[in-house]
């Protein structure tokens, strides 16, 4: 807080509001499958776009998207950024966030891309390591909770 003028008051308050977000069946199925080590998308129509993360509807055609399609585990970086500042609720920097198109998906899903400390030592080099077109693959955590944080991306060196 900057300097407070004399004769004024600052009233502090901490707010806590609890929410219980309903997932619906589509999101729940996606998250449960993450827990099983699979990434699923939904497709609208026979030749429709495959949405990852899945939606119950195609945003473009406004038709239901109900067919399940498994995607990945390989994928291609559409774009990535290396975060070097500390944000509340985020990991300690530096870390990499990337939009990755998983094989078989029509859209890209954002998540962390793991690089080694060595790779992150020089940011210009690191940017090139995760340049658009870079192949990555999904890596699941050993202990999964059915949340989107159950997986992240690693470079696909093989």
């Amino acid at each position: 807080m900057s300097e407070i003028p004399q004769d004024t008051i600052v009233l502090p308050e901490d707010r806590h509001l609890h929410y219980d977000f309903a997932s619906g069946y589509i999101t729940a199925h996606f998250l449960r499958n993450l827990g099983e080590g699979r990434i699923l998308g939904t497709r609208a129509g026979a030749n429709g776009r495959v949405y990852v993360p899945p939606r119950a509807y195609c945003e473009r055609t406004f038709e239901p998207a109900e067919e399940w399609v498994e995607v990945g585990p390989g994928g291609t970086v559409e774009a990535a950024t290396i975060v070097t500042a500390k944000f509340l609720g985020h990991p300690d920097p530096p870390f990499v966030i990337g939009m990755v198109r998983l094989d078989g998906a029509g859209t890209a899903i954002t998540n962390y891309i793991e690089l080694s400390d060595e790779q992150l030592a020089d940011l210009d080099t690191a940017r090139d390591v995760v340049a658009p077109g870079t192949r990555v693959k999904v890596q699941f955590k050993q202990e999964r909770q059915g949340r989107v944080t159950d997986f992240h991306y690693v470079l696909d060196n093989g």
């Binding site: 807080m1 003028p5 004024t8 308050e13 929410y19 859209t107």
Partner: protein, 399 residues
């Protein structure tokens, strides 16, 4: 909806000075002062106002749900027709458009569009912004307003060869222009050397590529054609409005089968095309005089001038770095310094409208561009997903 649109115009504008904190006023007092100022600018009293549109984005920063309902008395609005527009960062222009619809529909004569933000009332601003993402899919994915802009910058740079030096020039020139803006939060002389050592936030964005968090208020009064004629007022006529929404998921805006690609600001182009068609603008670079783009990051000024048709795709970086849209140019972009120099989120779009309209009303002070005839204001909200564009003209469109 191309062709001439129902006539209404902006007859008054006002802004507070922007800074990080305003501990000397609470929210309702902050917006009240600007209500007084905009009425004075239009030569009106509150009794002349028939309806109010309130511009307020997420209330999480000020910590008061439906804060507009508290502020209504302070702006003399009690008992009047009143509604609040909330479209994230696009709120300001979306609210101005709603005010225009109030007047252009024939339902109201003089409409006050006003709002304020106290973005720094919480120290947890970036956390607040993270709450706008999908709770299941993206809240824990590392996305926030800065990283999503960084991804856009990465894509634009790789597609077109836009450089850090281009972005540096955008910041340097914005800060320099803002020296003539009495409302600006940030202004001054930046040197490339200062920028080179400034902290990196998320590649390729450094500190000066990112707008500040600002507190302040803005307002305009929009009047119907009959009220403008009756009261013989000067007006910045609204000649075009456009708006476009896209998916919250930026990952949808990638790949071969995407309609729009996240490397470009295609949604802004579509919204501008709608507004241009109404306003009869076929060659923006020659027909526009002043453009106030809501560019919260340097990269957005680059992709913004391209989307608005002021230069070819990929030419934005070099053009801005050369000063092609700087003071004295045929088209001046963000003569106010723009959002890089003040970002009171709820009203940042309204600030763009104020700065653009003030140019046409010849009330822009040291920022005034001589004989400005036509201006554009834009706003953007969400994951660069909501676009709102308004074209204004010194003259009403001829029949």
């Amino acid at each position: 909806m191309s062709g001439h649109i129902a006539r209404a115009g902006i007859v008054g504008t006002a802004q507070s000075r922007y800074r990080t904190h305003r501990p000397d006023v609470h929210y309702a007092e902050l917006v009240q002062q600007t209500a007084f100022d905009v009425l004075a600018d239009a030569g009106m009293t509150i009794d002349d106002i028939d309806a109010i549109v309130f511009a307020m984005a997420p209330t999480d920063f000020v910590g008061i749900t439906d804060v507009d309902k508290w502020a209504i008395g302070a702006i003399g609005g009690a008992g009047k027709p009143f509604m609040r527009v909330q479209l994230g960062g696009a709120t300001g222009v979306a609210a101005a458009q709603a005010g225009y619809f109030h007047a252009a529909s024939g339902e109201f004569d003089n409409v006050l569009v006003i709002g304020a933000d106290k973005v720094a009332e919480t120290p947890d601003g970036q956390h607040v912004l993270s709450l706008m993402f999908d709770p299941f899919y993206e809240r824990e994915s590392g996305l926030n307003t800065i990283t999503m802009a960084a991804l856009h910058a990465e894509m634009h740079m790789r597609k077109y060869g836009t450089t850090t030096e281009h972005l540096d020039q955008v910041a340097i020139r914005a800060w320099r222009r803002a020296q003539r803006n009495p409302h600006a939060h940030l202004s001054g002389i930046l040197e490339p050397a200062d920028l080179a050592v400034s902290p990196l936030i998320a590649t390729p964005l450094r500190r000066y590529d990112v707008c500040p968090r600002s507190t302040g208020a803005a307002g305009v009064i929009i009047s119907s054609e009959r009220a403008i004629a009756r009261d013989q007022r000067d007006a910045a006529w609204v000649t075009g409005v456009g708006a476009i929404a896209n998916s919250v998921f930026i990952g949808d805006r990638t790949g071969a089968d995407a309609d729009l690609n996240y490397a470009d600001w295609g949604e802004l182009r579509l919204a501008a095309d709608q507004a241009y068609a109404q306003a009869g603008i076929t060659d923006p670079a020659s027909q526009l005089d002043v453009v106030e783009i809501y560019a919260p990051f340097t990269i957005c000024e680059v992709s913004g001038v391209e989307a608005l048709g002021l230069c070819a795709p990929g030419e934005g970086g070099p053009a801005l770095a050369r000063g092609d849209f700087d003071t004295g140019a045929a088209v001046e972009v963000n003569p106010s310094g723009g959002t890089l120099c003040a970002n009171p989120i709820a009203v940042t779009g309204l600030v763009r409208v104020c700065d653009a309209a003030a140019q046409l009303l010849n009330r822009a002070g040291d920022m005034q561009k001589a004989r400005a005839q036509r201006a554009v204001a834009t706003a953007v909200g969400g994951t660069f997903q909501f676009q709102s564009v308004m074209v204004m003209d010194r003259q009403p469109q001829e029949d």
